[in-house]
């Protein structure tokens, strides 16, 4: 494979420690026998829009819960804005805002009342609450619905209201846990715009978790890929993609794909990785153009008929597959990861 060095775990670099607003060292969390998180090391700088990318159940929400003081860590330490999350809970809580994955609004109150409630809990006086409510409602375009009960809101409007509420006390760090989960494409794009707006207008540090590749790619300035409770890579989206080097070639086979064929592809020069699923063979290669003819020759030799071929630049999905040996979107299907493990040319370090 020859590329193990490039895929070293993004921890222990220490180079960002200077202006870190969030600092995590050796953090672990167990639920009984289940290790939900192990040995997380991470530094997040002030003003970053940082993405935690990983499949459902990877440990993203657990990590956010620990940083948000809602869950005690089993091991290690973490600090937010210089406050230890285990011992300075109130100081941490005052400096963060959290938009949870599940709804946490009171739907028997109006949008405005939900915001007012939040402002009161965070010790804001009446005039400050009033002006902040105007401001955040304007930001998420909900002024016209402010006096309606939340139970009359659509899913996208609720999400926007939750984001608005998270901003009421103008936190230094905003956590967004799967901000666009279950929303339609237009609404997602709208939410993305709001999130970008936050970063631009407040310079706030934003940490978002997502299992959508495009979301991480579109929004985040830096990404940590998290899988089975470990950070397997950490870099800018471009940096992550450039680790694959060169191109991605996808072969669509019209016939059965034998193991021997995949093995032969792996042995071709300039091929760094081969994954196969449902008749699609994905190759990470140095140069797509020069590989295609040779791939066809090999296919011919094994009696595999290729129906289509495409050459493209790698995306985050490819990076994820390369790092974890499976596709993120299939995580829920179950069992698929075990099928993939045998194709994995690269074993994650522990």
């Amino acid at each position: 494979m020859g590329s193990e060095g490039e895929f070293s775990i993004g921890s222990g670099q220490g180079r960002r420690a200077v202006s870190a607003i969030i600092s995590i060292k050796g953090l672990g969390k167990d639920f009984g026998n289940l290790k939900a998180l192990h040995d997380i090391d991470l530094e997040i700088e002030k003003g970053e829009l940082f993405g935690l990318l990983g499949p459902n159940g990877a440990g993203k929400t657990t990590l956010i819960s620990i940083l948000g003081t809602m869950l005690p860590a089993s091991r290690g330490a973490a600090s937010v804005c210089g406050h230890d999350v285990g011992s300075k809970e109130d100081a941490v809580r005052r400096s963060i805002g959290i938009v949870f994955q599940e709804p946490t609004l009171d739907d028997e109150l109006t949008g405005e009342e939900n915001l007012d409630f939040h402002g009161r809990l965070y010790g804001m006086n009446a005039s400050m609450r009033g002006s902040r409510i105007e401001e955040v409602l304007d930001l998420v375009d909900l002024e016209d619905r402010r006096r309606d009960l939340v139970k009359t809101y659509s899913g996208g409007m609720r999400r926007r209201l939750e984001i608005a509420r998270g901003l009421m006390h103008r936190p230094q760090v905003l956590f967004l846990d799967e901000p666009t989960l279950g929303l339609d494409p237009q609404t997602r794009r709208k939410i993305w715009n709001y999130i970008r707006g936050l970063k631009d207008s407040y310079g706030m540090t934003i940490i978002l978790t997502t299992h959508y590749m495009d979301e991480a790619e579109q929004l985040c300035s830096r990404i940590a890929i998290i899988d089975r409770g470990e950070i397997v890579a950490e870099d800018t989206p471009d940096g992550l993609k450039s680790r694959l080097g060169g191109d991605v070639v996808v072969l669509g086979a019209a016939t059965e794909v034998p193991q021997a064929f995949l093995q032969a592809l792996r042995e071709l020069p300039a091929v760094s990785n081969v994954e196969s699923q449902d008749g699609r063979v994905v190759l990470a290669v140095t140069s797509g153009e020069s590989l295609v003819p040779r791939a066809f020759e090999t296919a011919h030799r094994f009696g595999v008929s290729i129906a289509e071929v495409s050459v493209r630049k790698p995306n985050l999905e490819d990076v994820f597959i390369r790092l974890t040996g499976r596709e993120i979107r299939n995580e829920t299907a179950g069992g698929i990861k075990d099928r993939f493990r045998i194709y994995r040319g690269w074993e994650r370090k522990r």
Binding site: G68, T69, E102, T104, D106, E108, H118, L121, G123
Partner: protein
């Protein structure tokens, strides 16, 4: 300072929700009203207690207590809906004391429960089923507060350990109904069989019903001072239990 703000915030929320839920208000007042009118009239024809009290007059304080018991317990158990609908997370992640949160929720439900109790009290007064002077009213309010605050706290304690509202019928059938029936709200405590007498004597609501009965000029069984002291102990215990459980709870 911030403690008071938090209590006020939670209290305000309960009241806002209460104002909006007319159907729930009517629903929760229907059962005590049915007991008072149907049971009161039904048994009234042959019930004569110490010859000068009609059955309706006798159960009046019991109905006020019933209204308090039901709405306070379910008020406290409402925390479970907040857990279910996620709103509890929003509350618990705020930089405020959990005890203040619990106190605010409790005060909110005490306010609304006492409001309903007062409606019954006013109806009883208007129907000449109770006698009430200024002192009597103050004593009644004290007992109403103690009953309500105790059972709200108990409801919060239960909601803190329960996972979802599926346990409501269990609480209803094994806690609320026995506490109500064994409180002397519907029958006098004189001449009860030993086992029943014991159950009524360990039931804190018994002392609440008896205290109110005393305050409105009805036939009370214990001395009002012992009613008050016993209920006070129960209130402190329930509050501590509620606060302890609520603090330990995770959203």
């Amino acid at each position: 300072m911030s403690f008071a703000v938090t209590v006020h915030t939670l209290w305000l929320r309960e009241l806002t929700r209460f104002r909006r839920s007319k159907s729930r208000l009517i629903g929760s007042m229907a059962m005590p009203a049915i007991f008072l009118i149907f049971l009161g009239s039904g048994f009234g024809s042959f019930f004569r207690y110490r010859s000068n009290v009609s059955y309706m007059e006798f159960i009046g304080p019991g109905i006020v207590s019933m209204s308090l018991l039901f709405s306070s317990m379910f008020g406290g158990l409402n925390v479970l809906w907040d857990k279910q609908f996620g709103f509890l997370k929003e509350i618990l992640v705020a930089p405020v004391s959990r005890i203040a949160i619990m106190a605010g929720i409790a005060m909110g439900h005490v306010t609304t429960s006492m409001g309903k109790g007062l409606i019954f009290l006013a109806a009883l007064y208007a129907g000449h089923l109770i006698r009430l002077d200024a002192t009597g009213l103050v004593v009644t309010l004290i007992f109403m507060f103690l009953i309500s605050a105790s059972f709200v706290s108990l409801g919060i304690a239960l909601a803190s350990v329960m996972d979802d509202p599926h346990g409501f019928p269990l609480v209803m059938n094994f806690l609320i109904m026995p506490v109500f029936f064994l409180s002397g709200a519907l029958y006098p405590l004189e001449g009860l069989p030993g086992w029943l007498k014991m159950l009524t004597y360990i039931n804190p609501l018994t002392y609440g019903v008896d205290g109110i009965r005393f305050a409105v000029g009805g036939p009370s069984h214990f001395s009002p001072v012992s009613d008050f002291l016993i209920l006070m102990v129960f209130w402190i215990g329930a509050t501590l239990a509620g606060a302890f459980m609520f603090r330990r709870m995770s959203a």
